[in-house]
Subunit: 154 residues, 2 copies
DNA sequence: TTTCCTGCAAAAGCTTTGCAAGTAC
DNA sequence: GTACTTGCAAAGCTTTTGCAGGAAA
């Protein structure tokens, strides 16, 4: 999401990361995915292009990416195995669906929701917690009408 | 949080759960904790009262609790092993601290932040996503001034 | 008495690590 | 040439599962 195609090299460069074929494919897979893939799913996507790629490399790269703010882990529902990843590192809104998947809210709604939170409240919170607050995300748990919530929000 | 002491039996009863010593101690540990304990930490707390308790029982009970909305899992930072749990199932605000822990925002700030999101936007989102939206939570990533974000929001 | 829960132990699954070979810069 | 990455395989952890015995209602 943050960058496309040939700009990937520049993104990595800015982070002091070497641009390898594996990382490039992984980042592309992450950026192009509209859902929130697991490490395993990303592995499969990258493997289509680089058959010999190792799952350990996927994990290592995801770790490095997240250290540099190029992706983030997102909460997953109980029972969903593994973590999920997201290349959208900007403030946004997630919705957990009844089937256990997690989707982003549409961009415009996402922005309106994020922006509806007064900056002054955020500043107050930062003050109280004694830290600088950077990324924000809002999660909703979606369920079908009448369905009993299973509480497995994350 | 939801209930105290002898009310625990009633809480379980309402959910159709049997009130065992293990579950009672676990729920109490969860409710009294101001941080967000891992299963392992809860295990240790319960074990002080019930030396023979099994970790599998802790997991089973946490699973059952979350199915009945008595607790929820919360996002954890990368590198923190295991999930963390929270007996506060009401809408609230989490802050991930630089040390990897996650804390609740103070109650009053939490409420003001949650309430600042217009119900109409939430309704619009529910409409678009085609689901009923129940629980909401807001997460912030806190960092020390000047510290580079590790992106491990979750 | 019936049904549900616990404890144990083993299994399963996700993620990390060590190291030698290979690659980016 | 140097420092960083990869792939492999093994280890490490967390979480789940099967089952017999035990406890709650």
């Amino acid at each position: 999401m943050a960058c496309e195609g040939k700009d990937i090299r520049a993104v990595f460069g800015r982070c002091g990361l070497r641009c390898t074929r594996q990382r490039e494919m992984l980042y592309r897979a992450l950026a192009e995915s509209r859902s929130h893939p697991t490490a395993e799913e990303l592995f499969e996507i990258v493997r289509e292009r680089i058959p010999g790629v190792s799952l350990a490399t996927i994990y290592n790269a995801l770790h490095v990416f997240s250290e540099h703010g190029l992706c983030r882990r997102i909460p997953v529902a109980w029972g969903n195995r593994g973590c999920r990843f997201d290349a959208n590192v900007f403030d946004h809104v997630h919705v957990s669906l009844p089937d256990g998947s997690t989707r982003d809210a549409p961009q415009d709604l996402s922005e309106r929701i994020i922006q509806s939170i007064p900056r002054q409240l955020v500043a107050e919170l930062a003050e109280v917690m004694g830290v600088e607050l950077s990324k924000m995300s809002v999660h909703f748990e979606g369920r079908r009408d009448g369905e009993f919530s299973d509480g497995a929000f994350q």
